[in-house]
């Protein structure tokens, strides 16, 4: 629409009139036109603004003025939205606020439970003590243990159900629990909730959340898009519901889009299995603690049994070894066991020990003792056991070979031929030995005496014919006699039993007996003079001449006669004991 233009030559008066006329004719239209144009301009501006608004806001992102300008409007919009229908806002906030609120409540409840636990803790009962032990053993808070024992339950099944359709998204069963037709059960649960809501009113948010059947409870946790139903046998503790709700929240967080666009395909929800398993596993974990505890206890008991059996057997064996060892020690002369006890795995034996007794440690192995198992604490002493006394006597007296020592009622008896020197020494030393009251060398002396006597009697000296002159080479015999007689004298002196030695002279068969008899006696006299210039202390010497009455050989040859011209010595038996002269 074009505006009429005035002719250029009109004066101002004409202009005014024309203007007035125009006002009268098209005034309302002009006003309307201006209004329309203004509106059109505004619309164009909005369009332009809309085109640049996102960029503009992005550019002013950090400008607090924009925030200040928008805040009241946004607040009002949120308020208006919440007043009109709170659900969209609640749905949007649910995944964020739900867990936070529940965590806060859980913590508050835990604190309450713990304080209750402290009160319970003060009650002393066998059960409480048992729980306390369990708590100490497992490291769980006492309250938790007590709760665990007072509430025995099991989560048997967990259903994740699409809220809108009642279709099953995922389903889990605890081992060894029956779970039939989860699809239809899932739908039926939804139907029952719907039925109750329809029948008794209330909003969708007020739907049934607990169903009880016998000792089973079905908890239905509700989220914006899904339900989590859990079948629990036994009294469920309240925190179990928190676990279910947590799991449901997690499912919503992870699967919000899949839930929103669910078209009957449950495949995307296979991945929430671990989340749902938390509901089962949490339960199983706690049961497992108890079971593990029981198993642990059983193992411990078994171990204790085996241990005590082992201990018993080894203790018995140990006691056997100890007994054997002690018996061996006690049987051993020169050892006196005063104390014996087990200490620090060692068998400590104390007492008295003669230095001549066997080494106690050497008996340990025979008794089955391990090396180092035995510790001896011995004090030395002189034992009076005959065996030890004999040992001591043998050590001290060093008897010559062929001489044996025995102890008879405190008397040390020497037997077997011992030379006079030894007998003299022994007779002096023996009575000084502990355990030796007397020394009896008689048997040894007599044996020596007998030996000497035989040696003496076995010898013979021969003479020249008709004289008292020795044939050459008889000195050796004479010296032997000298030596043996001296020894016999000492032996006789030691025993106090005198001996008699008879020196007998012989003649051969030549000549008359009247001549032979004196000759033989002279020969004996000769030998005595040569052998015994002085008297012997304990030997009485006699001489005799027997002529040819006791020939060594019967025969008439010169050799026979030469053998018969001789002197022999005869040693008499020891006289009864008497004081040595």
């Amino acid at each position: 629409m074009s505006t009429p233009t005035a002719p250029a030559d009109l004066d101002s008066g004409t202009d005014r009139e024309f203007e007035e006329l125009r006002e009268i004719l098209v005034g309302p239209e002009r006003a309307a036109l201006r209004e329309v144009r203004a509106r059109l301009d505004a619309r164009l501006a909005a369009h332009d603004v809309a085109a640049v608004l996102p960029e503009a806001i992005a550019e002013r992102g950090g400008d607090s003025r924009l925030v200040r300008a928008l805040t009241p409007s946004v607040e009002e919009a949120l308020l208006a939205s919440a007043r009109r229908d709170p659900r969209p806002l609640a749905d949007a906030l649910f995944p964020v606020l739900g867990p936070a609120i529940r965590n806060a409540i859980t913590h508050a409840l835990s604190a309450l439970v713990e304080s209750t636990g402290r009160v319970v803790e003060q009650s002393v009962s066998w059960r409480a003590i048992g729980w306390r032990l369990t708590a100490w053993r497992t490291g769980q808070p006492y309250a938790e243990v007590a709760l665990l024992h007072t509430l025995l339950y099991q989560v048997e099944q967990v259903f994740l159900i699409h809220r809108e359709t009642g279709l099953l998204l995922h389903h889990l069963t605890a081992p060894n629990t029956p779970g039939q037709s989860p699809d239809t059960v899932s739908a039926m649960l939804t139907a029952i909730r719907d039925f109750v809501s329809d029948s008794f009113g209330g909003t969708a948010e007020d739907a049934v959340d607990v169903l009880r059947v016998g000792n089973r409870t079905i908890f239905v946790e509700q989220g914006p898009l899904a339900l989590l139903a859990a079948v629990v046998r036994g009294p469920a503790p309240p925190e179990l519901r928190a676990a279910f709700q947590d799991a449901l929240d997690t499912v919503h967080l992870q699967k919000m889009e899949a839930l929103d666009r669910f078209d009957g395909d449950a495949a995307p929800f296979v991945s929430v299995r671990p989340v749902l398993e938390q509901c089962l596993r949490a339960q199983h974990h706690e049961r497992a603690v108890a079971r593990r505890g029981r198993r642990w206890l059983a193992a411990l008991a078994l171990l204790a049994l085996a241990g005590s059996l082992w201990w018993g057997v080894s203790a018995w064996q140990r006691a056997q070894r100890d007994r054997l060892y002690l018996a061996a020690l006690r049987a051993e002369p020169g050892l006196v066991v005063v104390s014996a006890s087990r200490s620090g795995g060692r068998f400590v034996v104390g007492g008295l020990r003669d230095p001549l007794a066997v080494d106690p440690a050497s008996l340990a192995a025979a008794a089955g003792m391990a090396a180092g198992e035995v510790e001896g604490r011995w004090t030395l002493y002189q034992a009076l056991d005959p065996a030890i006394v004999l040992l001591r006597a043998r050590g001290a007296l060093a008897p010559p070979s062929g001489v044996s020592l025995t102890l008879r009622d405190g008397t040390l008896v020497a037997e077997g031929p011992a030379d006079a020197a030894w007998i003299e020494r022994a007779a002096q030393s023996a009575p000084l030995l502990a355990g030796v009251a007397r020394f009896d060398p008689a048997p040894a002396a007599e044996a020596e005496g007998a030996r000497l006597a035989r040696a003496i009697e076995d010898r013979v000296v021969r003479f020249q014919r008709g004289t008292t002159l020795l044939i050459p080479g008889q000195d050796e015999v004479m010296r032997g006699w000298e030596r043996d007689l001296a020894a016999l004298d000492r032996v006789a002196a030691v025993t106090g039993r005198r001996r008699q030695v008879v020196i007998t002279g012989h003649a051969d068969s030549d000549g008359s007996p009247e001549a032979n008899l004196p000759l033989s006696r002279l020969r004996a006299e000769f030998v005595r003079t040569r052998l015994l210039p002085g008297a012997l202390a304990a030997i009485d010497v006699a001489i005799e001449g027997v002529g040819s009455a006791a020939p060594a050989v019967r025969g008439g040859t010169d050799a026979d006669k030469a053998r018969n011209r001789r002197v022999t010595l005869r040693v008499g038996p020891p006289a009864p004991a008497g004081p040595a002269r």
């Binding site: 699409h162 809108e164 359709t165 009642g166 279709l167 099953l168 039939q180 037709s181 699809d183 239809t184 739908a187 039926m188 139907a191 029952i192 719907d194 039925f195 809501s197 329809d198 078209d263 009957g264 395909d265 449950a266 495949a267």
Partner: protein
């Protein structure tokens, strides 16, 4: 595995429950129908090598006016409408139920089962009635819960529709 919620709707005594009994081996007793007004069963089907589970909500109609609990319809992907061939009014009930369902769920795949084909002689519903419905886009099956005729076909048709609707 795809699951679909299917609602079974129909007038009084049209033989819905018997149809389901023909079609599935149920877990729940029929007493649920009269207690909470619904009985749920499941039937697994195969369409073009795809497994499809039909979770069938057999919704109890208290009377011919079908005061059906609408909450039971929520989330349904398909409808099985059932009429009794021997009672013309049941067809009207089915028509009304279809409209009600559409109000709540929008347009979703549905099939109509006109039951008691074994009693065809006593039918009040003529072939021309069914032709009219077919012209209006209804998928109509003549079934017999007694003999099993047409039942599988009707369910299979719905399953195919659901499969195609994905």
């Amino acid at each position: 595995m795809i699951s679909k919620k299917v609602c079974l709707l129909g007038g009084f005594a049209v033989g819905k429950t018997s149809l389901v009994a023909r079609f599935v081996h149920g877990v729940f007793s029929e007493k649920y129908l009269t207690t909470i007004g619904v009985k749920i069963d499941k039937r697994s089907m195969t369409v073009d090598d795809d497994e499809l589970d039909l979770v069938i909500w057999d919704i109890y109609g208290e009377d011919d006016y079908q005061r059906v609990r609408m909450s039971y319809l929520r989330g349904a992907s398909g409808l099985l409408l059932v009429a009794d061939g021997t009672r013309r009014d049941t067809l009207e009930v089915a028509r009304a139920l279809r409209l009600t369902a559409r109000d709540h769920l929008g347009t979703i795949p549905s099939v109509l089962l006109v039951n008691k084909v074994d009693l065809r002689a006593a039918w009040e519903i003529g072939p021309e009635d069914l032709d009219v419905l077919r012209e209006q886009g209804w998928r109509v099956f003549e079934t017999s819960a007694k003999t099993g005729d047409g039942v599988e076909g009707a369910f299979a048709a719905l399953a195919r529709l659901l499969h195609e609707a994905r």
